[in-house]
Symmetry: C2
Subunit: 196 residues, 2 copies
DNA sequence: GCAAAATACTAATATGTGTTAGTTTTGCTG
DNA sequence: CAGCAAAACTAACACATATTAGTATTTTGC
C-alpha cells in the first residue's frame, strides 16, 4: 500500500540503506530482521525484495561504501605535502566528521563487518589493514623526522584508530559536545601524546 | 557420552563459560548457536541445559563478571593516594592486562552487551557509565592539580576508554607485541597526550 | 554394590527468519 | 484511456534455533 519514499537526495535504495544502517546499528545485523526493516519503511517484508537482493547485500553495501570513503580520504592525505603530525591530525578529523555525519553506517561498518560472508569479510579486512598500514607509515615518517617520539608505531596506530572507532556520535552526544570540541580535544590528545 | 570436563582451576560451568566466550567473540552472540557450543564441548546441545539456564544467561554471566572486575579495580584506584596521572595509568594498565588474560570475555562484554535483555542491558550500561564517570573524576582532579592540561574531561575519558576497548589481544597480537610494550606505549600515548 | 543424584541422549516442539511464488495494485507514458 | 512496468500484497516454504520432555546412563556417596 504505502510506497517507499526516495530520499530528497537519493534513490529508494539509498533510503533502504539508511534505515538498514540505523536498524543494524541499534540491534546488530543478526538480531535485526527484514520484517523490522520493512516496518520502518511502512511496507511488507517481501516488498523490499523488489529493491534489494538480500539482507546480506545491505550489510555489504554499507561496509564497503564506508571503507571506500576512508580509503579515498587516506589517499588524499598521503598525497599531500603536510608533515606527519598534520597528516595524522587530518586522519583523525576525517574520522570524527564522518562519524558525525554518517553515524549509523560508520558504526555498522566498524562493528558488524564480521557478519559479512567470508569472502567479503576477507576483502573488508584487507582494506582495513591497508588503511592501518598507511597510518603506521605516516607515524614512522614522523618518527624519522623527529617530530614524533620513538615508539612502537603499530601500537600508536591501533591506539588512535581504536579511540576513533569507539566514538559513538549519536544525537545524544551531539548535544554533549560539538564537532569542533571533539576535533580539538582528540587531535590534542592523540597527536600530542606521541609528539616530542 | 562424552562428559564435560571441568577446568583444572574451576567448575564445569566455568568451562562452559570459557567456551561460550570464545564462541561469542568469534561469531557474535546472535550468530553463535547452542549447538556449536555443545560441539565445542563434545556433547549434544540439550545436555548443556543440565548446566545452564539459557543461552542469554551465559552472556549475562560473562558481561557482569567482567563489569564487576573493572568496577572493583576502579574502586581500589579511587581509594589510592596516587596522583591523577598515576591513577589514570593504573586504569590503562589494568585494561590492557585484563584484555591480555581474558580476551574473549572482555571482548564479548565490550561488544555484545547490547544483546543482553533490556533489563540487564540497562543495568550493564549504568555500571559502565559509573565507571566512565570515575575516570572523568580522576581527570578533572588532574586538571585542578594542574597536572593535566585544561580540556574537556569527558572527551578525554571516552578517548582513553575507546582506545582500550578497541584493543584486540588475540594470540596473534601477542606475538606482535608484548604486554609490557603495550603498557608502556599506550600509557605514554594516552597519559602524555593530556599532561602539561 | 546399591540407591540416588547428576548428566547424557533422542525426539520433538514452538518460534522466528530469509526468501520465493504468484497475484494484485499503482502510476507513468503513449 | 489502454497498456505496461514497477512495486506492493498475501501465502507459503524451508530452514535454523532455543528449549522442553522423557528416558537412559554414568558417577557418586554410603
Amino acid at each position: 500500500m504505502a510506497k517507499i519514499k526516495a530520499l530528497t537526495n537519493g534513490t529508494k535504495k539509498d533510503s533502504i540503506l539508511k534505515n538498514a544502517a540505523a536498524l543494524f546499528r541499534k540491534k546488530g545485523f543478526r538480531a535485526a530482521s527484514v520484517r523490522e526493516l520493512a516496518e520502518m519503511m511502512g511496507v511488507e517484508a517481501p516488498s523490499l525484495y523488489n529493491h534489494i537482493g538480500s539482507k546480506s547485500e545491505l550489510l555489504q553495501e554499507i561496509c564497503f561504501e564506508v571503507a571506500k570513503d576512508f580509503t579515498a580520504h587516506m589517499k588524499t592525505v598521503l598525497a599531500s605535502d603536510a608533515n606527519a603530525a598534520d597528516k595524522t591530525a587530518a586522519v583523525i578529523r576525517f574520522h570524527i566528521t564522518k562519524m558525525y555525519n554518517d553515524f549509523d553506517k560508520v558504526y555498522v561498518s566498524d562493528n558488524e563487518w564480521k557478519q559479512l560472508q567470508k569472502k567479503e569479510a576477507d576483502d573488508f579486512l584487507a582494506q582495513r589493514r591497508a588503511y592501518e598500514n598507511s597510518l603506521t607509515g605516516i607515524i614512522d615518517e614522523g618518527i624519522k623526522q623527529k617530530l614524533f617520539a620513538k615508539m612502537h608505531s603499530r601500537i600508536a596506530t591501533l591506539t588512535i584508530l581504536s579511540a576513533l572507532r569507539g566514538l559513538e556520535l549519536r544525537q545524544q552526544n551531539k548535544k554533549e559536545f560539538t564537532l569542533k570540541e571533539l576535533e580539538i580535544n582528540m587531535v590534542q590528545h592523540l597527536v600530542n601524546g606521541i609528539t616530542i
